[in-house]
């Protein structure tokens, strides 16, 4: 009973302190709203305004027609080149990223039913973009070629079924229109939660050390675990508020991210996640002596946690040995569960084992923090 009261007053204290720290409050508000909005609407990893040039020895209607199919917003035509030297200079200086080289007699070949060649040079110094350019160009060219063949044979598009072809039918699950904002905004929200839950409790703990208030607590009947737990419970409240704000204003308000599972379940696993992530933060807090150290250690710790979660990188793109380390990143579990709840509508059979593993990590680090906490203070002379 007394212990509960202590926990309660300490939690109220933490919240009051946070509320009074206007800079931190504004920073958190910014992160939960504007930052997530920017991440959602910011850069796109898809083709956009790719500058390309053409070296056309044919100068025919056919080549012009094909060029015309490379349109905005995906491509941007930069004009014709006169010499191969100009082409290499242009690539070196990065003036365009792709170059189509039409051979002499391009149209003629097409007309006389001879296979013709078209060369595409792609600047892959940025390989991500280069890959996309090549893939998308191939699609445009093959559509154009298909149209020509059909035309030649006097077929309409509907008559394609008369050929023995594999007819690929797509079904994209979870995000059928491929809204990049859904993924970007949601993963930014999760990253923001991670950042705040690691930095804020660590900073709060170190501030107590720096200001000596921790001594006052230690001579009172408060136990180290109560001190740590009160910080976690305060953080939980803050994060839940911020999450509601972010989901309501940004995810739903701006990007209309679907919530296919139970929103309550999302809030619940968020509470679990805050517990775990705060544990990591408090661990950093017990190790460091001042705010600068907290900052450094957080940078060092947060990078692998975010990295191993699969936010930026699909796990498939990681080496196997790294992939096996992912279970140690609480964000990995949280991310899977959150995407499951928002986009896929998964149920508890999916959530329960992951939530269990995540909480397990949390209990482990919190245990370690309490241990360190005691040790650190017992040693002080």
């Amino acid at each position: 009973m007394k212990s509960l009261r202590r926990l309660w007053v300490l939690t109220v204290k933490e919240i009051l302190q946070l509320w009074r720290d206007r800079v931190l409050l504004l920073a958190s508000l910014y992160l939960f709203t504007v930052d997530i909005f920017l991440a959602g609407s910011g850069i796109k990893l898809t083709l956009h305004q790719v500058p390309f040039s053409v070296f056309d020895l044919d100068r025919s209607a056919a080549s012009r027609e094909l060029i015309a199919r490379f349109q905005k917003p995906y491509f941007r035509f930069q004009g014709y080149l006169r010499s191969p030297e100009e082409a290499f200079r242009g690539f070196d200086q990065g003036r365009f990223l792709a170059l189509f080289d039409f051979p002499d007699g391009f149209e003629e070949d097409l007309k006389t039913e001879r296979q013709t060649r078209l060369q595409l040079l792609v600047d892959t110094s940025n390989a991500i973009m280069g890959n996309l350019i090549a893939g998308y160009s191939a699609l445009i060219v093959s559509r154009y070629a298909q149209d020509i063949t059909l035309h030649r044979l006097g077929y309409t598009k509907e008559m394609l079924r008369r050929f023995p072809l594999v007819d690929l039918k797509w079904r994209v699950f979870f995000n059928p229109n491929q809204e990049e904002a859904w993924f970007n905004a949601l993963s930014e929200l999760l990253t923001v939660i991670t950042m705040l839950t690691m930095l804020l409790p660590a900073a709060a703990l170190v501030r107590e050390k720096e200001r000596g208030t921790i001594e006052q607590l230690l001579v009172s009947p408060v136990s180290p675990l109560e001190v740590l737990l009160s910080k976690i419970s305060a953080m939980t409240l803050v994060i839940l508020t911020g999450t509601l704000l972010a989901v309501g204003l940004v995810l739903e308000g701006c990007f209309r991210v679907p919530i296919r599972g139970s929103f309550f379940a999302f809030l619940l696993i968020t509470v679990f996640y805050v517990f775990t992530s705060c544990g990591y933060g408090l661990f950093i807090g017990t190790l460091s002596r001042n705010l600068a150290q907290v900052g450094l250690l957080t940078i060092i710790a947060i990078a692998p946690i975010v990295f191993l979660s699969g936010t930026w990188t699909p796990p498939e793109a990681m080496p196997t040995w790294l992939r096996s380390l992912m279970v140690f990143s609480p964000l990995y579990h949280y991310l899977q569960m959150s995407f499951g709840l928002f986009l896929k509508g998964t149920g508890w059979d999916f959530l329960a084992p992951r939530a269990g593993r995540m909480l397990g990590l949390g209990v482990l680090v919190l245990f370690a923090s309490t241990l360190f906490f005691r040790k650190r203070f017992a040693q002080q002379g």
Binding site: R6, V9, Q216, L217
Partner: protein, 626 residues
């Protein structure tokens, strides 16, 4: 004609809306040890930083080495001839570098040629006794050593003006003494000027001239004796049958008082002296006039805050119950004994002082008593509980006010008290009652909705005391509760402690750096190197010292330096401005004969009072040497 090194006229400086300095004017003649004395927040640092060109100012004129300086460039030109040591123990040192490496850096930064650097380095290291530690990293040095090193690093390039910002804050009396003689020696020998700030009013007599600062203004300027003659009143020591009753009556008259040597030390305004004499004869058991100190200057200037003893007639029952009992309490860190065989007894309702230099083991002892640390050997019973067996019960019966202000600055007065009430598990109703009671007791009612960070230091410490008392502990541990506070803040704080002890029977264990404050305690223990070296009532300790060493004399000589060198070998000598302070067991005539035998001639001499500082030295340095 006297040459002036620093002159400041009508200086003004604001930080945002807050006025830091107002109409400050100051003259520092060449070759003088000049002090800027005042409590925390008086504007001392700001003034020193402006003079050394580290801080911009809004109004007024600054003259340095005879030239008016206003732009950043003007000050740049003067920097070759001055130094500045910032506040904080060894704050300007590089903690990860060794003693020698620090000196090298300062020397090279000041473009000393290698030979001169080596020579001066060696000289100064030997002089300060740091030579054996020259390869040690700064972070492993003691506080006193850091401060000496910071000082010699600053003066390595032999500046004409030495500016030191609170060099003695946080340094124990022993190191303080060493520091003063070091500084005085340098000033005399090289004829340089030193401008030094301090919060310790009792250090004022170390300066040749000084300025007393308060709330951004300079109140008075002159030599210590000139300043003392300005005290607008007389000081009495009085003792009454019922101390609370007497104190109440004195406070009602609007006179300042401190609990002192079993009675009160009362400041009586000059115009009330007659009234006081009659009053003493009616109400007091004993009374006698005592010498004023510089702190009294400030008292004379401000009317007392109407915070008197609160509940009328409340008296703690007289008991002889023991609240703290330690037996052979020892704490070892590896091979180092921080506390060794301490056996103490503190009775209920006592104000018990714990004194000692840094590293004497005071904090370790308190931490063991509070249950923050387990003793290596021995036993401590606090309020009837053994910290090792029943830590939680112990914590519920003690209050603790730690060295640094350890409350939540961003919470209000009320919120802080409520938080503590919750932590100690007080029920809602109980907490409300206690909150009201404590606000009234500490006089914080008008400030209850202000944030702790917006309170002046004095009020903050009262808040800290209120928080430490929330759960009605049997004993409170006050670890340097008044450091940095101004004299009025200290007065109120001590009176509060006195009231709590006498009216509510609260036991208080206090440590302090202000040795003068030791006189406010009922009994005290002096710690040195982990042991208790003296133990008893302040007046008994003084009497004992007089018996053993005699009375102190303040003597001025033609050649002070020479006199000090000759006397130093036989007995401890302290430098006080342009005089030496010397203990001599015997009459004045005998002293003269003694000096003559040494080939010295006193220009003038004066008998001094035995202070706690003397007791401190006798039991630390004195005992070390014999």
């Amino acid at each position: 004609m006297e040459r002036v090194v620093v002159e400041v006229k009508g200086l003004g400086k604001r930080f945002g809306r807050q006025k830091a300095l107002e109409e400050v004017s100051l003259r520092v003649p060449q070759g003088v040890l000049f002090g800027v004395v005042g409590p925390d927040g008086a504007g001392k640092s700001t003034l020193l930083k402006i003079i050394t060109g580290l801080l911009d100012f809004d109004q007024g004129e600054v003259y340095l080495f005879g030239r008016r300086r206003s732009s950043e460039r003007d000050f740049e030109e003067a920097k070759a001839d001055l130094c500045f040591m910032p506040q904080g123990l060894g704050a300007n040192l590089y903690q990860e570098l060794s003693v020698e490496e620090n000196l090298h850096f300062f020397g090279k930064l000041r473009l000393l040629d290698p030979q001169a650097l080596e020579q001066r380095k060696e000289e100064l290291l030997v002089l300060t006794g740091l030579w054996p530690f020259r390869r040690r990293r700064v972070k492993h040095l003691s506080g006193g050593m850091k401060q000496k090193l910071a000082f010699i690093c600053s003066v390595l390039h032999q500046p004409r003006l030495i500016v030191l910002d609170e060099p003695t804050t946080g340094v124990d009396p022993l190191s303080r003494e060493e520091f003063w003689s070091l500084l005085a020696g340098l000033v005399w020998r090289l004829g340089v000027t030193a401008l030094v700030s301090t919060t310790y009013l009792e250090e004022a007599e170390r300066f040749e001239q000084l300025a007393l600062m308060h709330q951004g203004r300079i109140l008075l300027q002159g030599t210590p004796s000139e300043l003392l003659s300005q005290v607008k009143g007389e000081i009495y020591w009085v003792q009454g049958e019922d101390p609370l009753d007497l104190g109440e009556k004195i406070l009602n008259r609007g006179w300042h008082l401190f609990p002192y040597a079993g009675g009160f030390r009362v400041f009586v305004p000059r115009e009330k002296v007659k009234e006081a004499r009659t009053f003493w004869s009616q109400e007091a058991l004993q009374s006698r006039p005592i010498a004023p100190s510089l702190g009294d200057l400030l008292l004379g200037l401000s009317p007392p805050e109407p915070l008197a003893f609160r509940e009328k007639g409340a008296r703690a029952p007289k008991t002889l119950e023991t609240v703290v009992r330690t037996e052979d309490l020892t704490k070892e860190f590896g091979s180092f004994r921080a506390v060794e065989g301490v056996s103490l007894e503190i009775k209920a309702g006592e104000i018990f002082g714990l004194l000692g230099p840094n590293g004497a083991g005071k904090t370790t002892l308190i931490r063991m008593l509070c249950g923050l640390m387990a003793p290596t050997r021995g036993r401590a019973l606090v309020a009837g509980y053994d910290s090792r067996k029943t830590p939680r019960e112990l914590r519920e019966n003690i209050g603790y006010l730690s060295q640094a202000f350890s409350l939540y600055r961003d919470l209000t007065v009320q919120e802080n008290i409520r938080l503590m009430a919750g932590i100690y598990g007080l029920s809602g109703r109980e907490a409300r009652l206690r909150l009201k009671e404590l606000l009234k007791l500490t006089g914080l009612e008008p400030f209850q909705n202000l944030r702790a960070e917006d309170l002046p230091l004095g009020l903050r410490q009262r808040l800290a005391l209120a928080c430490a008392l929330i759960h009605r502990p049997r004993i409170v541990f006050l670890d340097e509760p008044t450091s940095g506070m101004d004299i009025l803040g200290r007065e109120i704080f001590w009176n509060l402690v006195f009231y709590l002890s006498r009216a509510q029977g609260l036991t208080c264990l206090v440590t302090t750096h202000y040795l003068a404050e030791a006189e406010h305690c009922d009994r005290l223990a002096l710690m040195h190197r982990g042991r208790i070296v003296a133990y008893g009532r302040p007046e008994d300790l003084k009497r004992e010292l007089e018996r053993e060493a005699g009375r102190p004399y303040l003597i001025s000589f033609e050649d002070l330096h020479e006199a000090r060198e000759r006397l130093k070998a036989e007995r401890p000598v302290m430098v006080f401005g342009r005089r030496l302070r010397l203990f001599f067991p015997g009459k004045a005539e005998e002293l003269e004969a003694y000096l003559r035998a040494k080939g010295l001639k006193a220009l003038s001499w004066e008998k001094g009072e035995i202070t706690m500082e003397d007791i401190f030295f006798w039991h630390t340095v004195g005992k070390d040497e014999t």
